[in-house]
């Protein structure tokens, strides 16, 4: 009886209206949505900070940077003043982690391939650095960036 049912479904499967095939599951596990950087208050000042982000997944996947507004990847302060911003993304699960700081321009186009197959939780280390220029005084204050980290298939 069971064999007849299997045979029946095997025969009608190609006739069904459509076939859906799905792959993989992922979850950002935080821990946080934000990274606080020190106040800029002098010329030639370098500020930096870093954040560990956990990604749970059951298939190799990619992490890309999705800039949500123009210039969102550049540290921007009072009156729209900007400072040179660079990033470094590392982690044992990343196929080609950054070996050095990556400029904000290059960071926007980066693709980080998570090579582990899973199911597993991998840690991604995101470091951010801002440098105020040596010969030019910028408005004193807090400089911020805003972008999305998007995990893709």
């Amino acid at each position: 009886m069971v064999r007849k049912f299997i045979l029946f479904f095997a025969l009608i499967a190609p006739l069904s209206a459509h076939v859906v095939i799905g792959y993989g599951a992922t979850a950002w596990m935080g821990p946080t949505y934000s990274l606080t950087l020190p106040h800029i208050n002098q010329t030639a000042q370098t500020i930096s900070g870093s954040l560990d982000i956990a990604l749970q997944h059951d298939t190799p996947c990619d992490v890309t940077i999705h800039v949500l507004r123009t210039g969102g990847e550049v540290l921007t302060g009072p009156g729209g003043a900007t400072i040179a911003t660079s990033y470094m993304v590392t982690g044992a699960a990343i196929l080609t982690p950054d070996a050095d700081w990556v400029s904000s321009d290059d960071f926007r186009a980066r693709l980080y391939h998570i090579k582990t197959n899973g199911p597993t939780t991998d840690e991604i280390h995101l470091a951010v650095r801002g440098e105020s220029p040596a010969g030019r005084a910028l408005p004193v204050g807090d400089y911020t960036t805003s972008f999305a980290l998007t995990v893709t298939w």
Partner: protein
């Protein structure tokens, strides 16, 4: 005199002010989305359903409800394999306008899940072909900072729609091929750790000239001036699936120290066509500086294969001149994905013994946990001198989604009873 409404003294204002003055507290992200990609085949005008599951995973007792916004976007794939998200309907192969979301925002209590059923309806006049879209699930942040970096977490779930009615052949060609040498490292301060050397690599761009997507795999061979293979490597890409009309970069690292001289680099890429592959050849003149760089790069690279357990790790067969002997090389997958393996052999002594050796397989795929035994047949010519002849058997293993690693297995053939 008008009544002065002192809003700043109201309890609501004070509470809001206190909230603003509090430092941003770490808040856990944590929505799981599945699947990451799904494919559906439909006829024009026929509605279909795809489901995206969203779950608020439980971490600890402090978990809170999490909200996420959902949107449908187009995407373009760059030659590097990176994705760029764009407004719906802007790409020529967009399926975004055909997809209906049941909700634009979901809020889930800890441990709760929702299955969102999306309706996909290609318009009746849609030509047969492949169309794409992505559903972006953006976690709504509860913590804000005005002192640094604000991160939005997103998960993109791809929806690949095939509109039935015509099948398209897989077509491709290689549009460029070059050897890319690493830039010289910047001067380091005294005592600083030297930066890791980027490998030299062969870079090939494959263009999908057809309308059907394919997943390409390929290999590269370097031949010496005498026509003998001196190195083989697998060509990989961060995104080997190439859509119709797109191009993709595939690379293979140069992992062998080669002496200066003239070489020929040959590549072939299998793009799932039933009758041909894409081929390209490149002449390479290796300078003494480049040769020295390859030697330095080889020293800085590991030699352990991943994804497979190989045994034995050394062969020392004793064979009489004029006789033949078969050896067995065991490859066992220890990966939970398919592992591609490529085998090659090269003489390392003064005598060319590559034509003494034949391999039972040079390019194979191991299923998860599978085991294969490869025959290595050695036929010693009758005029061979009594001596030891060294060679190296190289196994390159490539678990799907990972980088290629090499294992070099010494092979020392001890010829007995030969000429003295």
């Amino acid at each position: 005199m008008k009544n002065c409404r002192c809003y700043f003294l109201s309890p609501l204002f004070l509470a809001a002010s206190l909230l603003l003055l509090m430092p941003a507290q770490p808040v856990h992200a944590g929505l799981a989305v599945s699947p990451l990609k799904q494919e559906i085949s439909l006829r024009p005008g026929e509605p279909g359903k795809v489901v995206i599951n969203i779950l608020n995973r439980v971490h600890d007792a402090a978990d809170v409800s999490v909200s996420a916004n959902l949107s449908i976007v187009d995407f373009a794939v760059h030659t590097s394999g990176g994705l760029e998200f764009q407004n719906p309907g802007t790409q020529k192969n967009s399926a975004s306008k055909w997809i209906t979301l049941p909700d634009k925002q979901v809020t889930l209590e800890p441990g709760k899940a929702v299955a969102l059923e999306l309706t996909v309806t290609p318009p009746i006049q849609t030509p047969p072909g492949e169309y794409y879209s992505a559903v972006i699930v953006s976690l709504v942040s509860r913590a804000r900072t005005n002192k640094g970096v604000q991160i939005q977490y997103e998960i993109a779930s791809g929806v690949f729609v095939t509109v039935l009615g015509q099948s398209f052949p897989k077509q491709a060609k290689i549009t460029s091929m070059a050897v890319q040498w690493p830039a010289p490292p910047a001067t380091q301060p005294a005592g600083a750790k030297p930066p890791e050397l980027e490998p030299a690599k062969v870079v090939v761009v494959l263009h999908n000239t057809g309308a059907a997507r394919f997943t390409a795999t390929g290999k590269m061979r370097i031949l010496g001036a005498n026509g003998r293979v001196v190195m083989t490597a697998v060509l990989t890409s961060t995104r080997p699936c190439v859509f119709g009309g797109d191009s993709r970069t595939f690379t293979a690292p140069l992992t062998k120290a080669l002496p200066p001289g003239a070489y020929t680099v040959k590549v072939d890429l299998d793009y799932e066509s039933t009758w041909t592959k894409a081929y390209q050849t490149l002449a390479l003149e290796l300078t003494p500086d480049q040769s020295a760089l390859l030697a330095r790069l080889k020293d800085s690279q590991g030699t352990t294969a991943v994804g497979v357990v190989i045994s034995p790790l050394k062969f020392m067969p004793a064979i009489s001149a004029g006789a033949a002997r078969s050896l067995g090389l065991s490859l066992k997958s220890c990966s939970d994905v398919p592992v591609r393996c490529m085998l090659s052999v090269a003489s390392t002594g003064n005598t060319d013994i590559e034509n003494w050796i034949s391999l039972g397989a040079t390019d194979l795929s191991l299923a998860p946990s599978a085991h294969k035994s490869i025959e290595i047949k050695i036929t010693v010519p009758s005029d061979a001198k009594t001596d030891t002849y060294p060679a190296t058997l190289t196994v390159e293993s490539w678990p799907e989604g990972s980088e290629v690693r090499r294992t070099e297995i010494p092979l020392e053939i001890q010829v007995r009873g030969g000429r003295n």
